[in-house]
Symmetry: C2
DNA sequence: TCTAATTGCAAAACCGGTTTTGCAAAAGAA
DNA sequence: TTCTTTTGCAAAACCGGTTTTGCAATTAGA
């Protein structure tokens, strides 16, 4: 049922129907009786306007694009939930996609969302999206980047201080009495990963220790990852503590440790919390990013920019907490 | 840049531009040279058509609505990822929302997605959506319900056999030597929950045991839930095994057990797997729904219905595996 | 050489709305 | 009573595309 059909049925013009439906009867000088007659019929047949046509006419889609690396992930999933809730409070819907860290998927998705006239974008970018993001910015599309920056591109950004948090984490392991502290990370060139790595190296150097690093390919399947970690542990028996750049690397390592011929306990600390960390024995400490605060900051920044296209960008670094769970040995 | 502006710039009609851009130069009998001239200019300025206008004209949005209970959840998150991947392979985008199990949110979301002309809906419904879903069906919108059925409404459905799986699970606990088997669940009227409960009662009766049930409100915050479970355990010291209708109830219980004044080990078995179950000591068995298979079936069903509006619905019950992790005591 | 068919594109209609403009009839002012 | 406002709504233009139709110019056919 279209507005034209309604108009025809009631023998009025569609402009009249449109005005009445949108509560602009007054301003369109439509008489009360006619307005009532129209509303009655509209309610009777349960008419709902075609949102596409409406968006085309008004230029408003009430939709925000949300692009994360992996919606099934224990970091992005919950953050997506919070973002969605805050956006809903502002009357926006979410068009989402996962990039799986792949450049071409990411680019296609951004393009598709821009084409679909989203009113803003929330993006956790991959490597190689610089040019596209600059293009998006040039077109004045409201945009917030989160979790990782795009080096050399100035945008709104919300994330945590990976470098500082990483330093605190490694310091804590030293302070807990460990001395042979290895780091397990992925060989990604993403800034947040590089920052975490830099923090590790810095403290290792400060304590005059030797860096012991396992860098795994992001594309490695889980079983291969576990195998690689297992070998790393077996070839580096001197290790007494491990620092992980992500929580899932820690989970994989726990699995790898199970597979070791003889059990061994490590001091462990991971970037990003995980439900299981407090349920293990010994518990596992972590750096916890305040997901709700991050989501709130992202949405607030985006809405602000939509309402009033800004001249300058905001760069918000939300501190993470070091959650200390295990006692020093 | 619109297609009209391009046409004006090149002194041609916009119909010509449209035909060329969409590779219909042949069928529109546009000369090669003109087609090339148009394509060159289009590429030069990097024109991308407005997807809204295109959708309005063609009636195709290439968008599917995905409505889950909670995208941050360890069941819905990963399943959403898989659904998204399969849909991408078919050229569809995803508009998603979480209902948080709330009726009015769910209804608004479905309405919004229908208004936005999604080409199909994938829905994990809440209680009270019957009428709306029937309305959606009457409008011939392709639809797949998953995880839980809507009693009395015939639709496409993909889910697991909650009743049978539940029976197998409780049987397994008995067979492992436990005799005082409690069940912890939420007091939801959702069919999948009722089926799980029914399976428990059936086996308990068959073994001539006494049902021992804790039904928690879905709206309970996590700390309160943990507290309630703790009290339940303290008031029912005879319990030696626990069966959980969802994995997060098991996780909450693990937390509650930590808080008990003196440690106790239970036989435990949960509906839905969780990363941590195989990392604990003792490990926790579970019923594992095959997420990828479920996602694949959902998408296949939906695509089939889009391509060829069916007369009849398919009801697919995908068996779950009982993953036995702990050894019998 | 005259008519018929084909070529090449412009123009128009349409998708389903919103918003501005215009105009006849009624009401008010002089 | 005549001119000016105001009222109440229809008509038209627009959003940015797609697709069908129509028509002049060229080519082919006889």
């Amino acid at each position: 049922m279209s507005i034209s059909e309604i108009a025809k049925h009631l023998n009025v013009s569609k402009s009249t129907v449109s005005l009445v439906i949108n509560g602009k009867a007054e301003q369109g000088r439509i008489s009360q009786e006619l307005a009532k007659r129209i509303m009655d019929y509209v309610n009777e047949i349960g008419y709902k306007p075609n949102a596409l046509a409406k968006s085309l006419a008004t230029g408003k889609t009430h939709t925000i694009g949300l692009i994360v690396e992996n919606i099934g992930d224990s970091f992005f999933g919950p953050i997506a939930l919070h973002i969605e809730e805050y956006l809903r409070q502002h009357g926006y819907y979410v068009l989402y996609s996962s990039t799986l860290g792949e450049e071409d998927i990411a680019r296609n998705i951004v393009q598709a969302m821009v084409d679909k006239q989203v009113e803003g974008l929330i993006l956790s970018p991959t490597i190689g999206q610089e040019a596209q993001v600059m293009q998006v910015l040039k077109n004045k599309m409201p945009l917030v980047i989160f979790d990782r920056r795009i080096p050399g591109v100035e945008t709104n950004y919300v994330g945590t201080d990976n470098y500082t948090a990483s330093k605190k984490a490694v310091e804590h392991l030293f302070d807990s009495g460990f001395s042979q502290i290895g780091m397990i990370t992925i060989d990604s060139q993403q800034p947040q990963m590089l920052d975490r790595l830099r923090g590790y190296h810095e403290i290792i150097a400060k304590r005059k220790a030797k860096p012991q690093l396992l860098q795994l390919s992001y594309t490695l399947e889980r079983p291969d990852r576990i195998q690689a970690i297992k070998e790393f542990l077996q070839n580096n028996k001197q290790l007494d503590a491990l620092y992980f750049s992500t929580n899932y690397l820690c989970v994989s390592t726990l699995k790898a440790i199970q597979l070791l011929p003889k059990a061994k306990t490590y001091g462990m600390l991971a970037f990003d919390d995980h439900e299981l960390f407090e349920l293990l024995n010994p518990k596992i400490s972590c750096i916890r990013q305040p997901l709700e605060d991050i989501a709130k900051a992202i949405v607030a920044t985006l809405i602000a920019q939509i309402k009033e296209p800004k001249k300058s960008f905001t760069d918000q670094v939300i501190p993470s907490d070091l959650i200390i769970r295990q006692s020093s040995r």
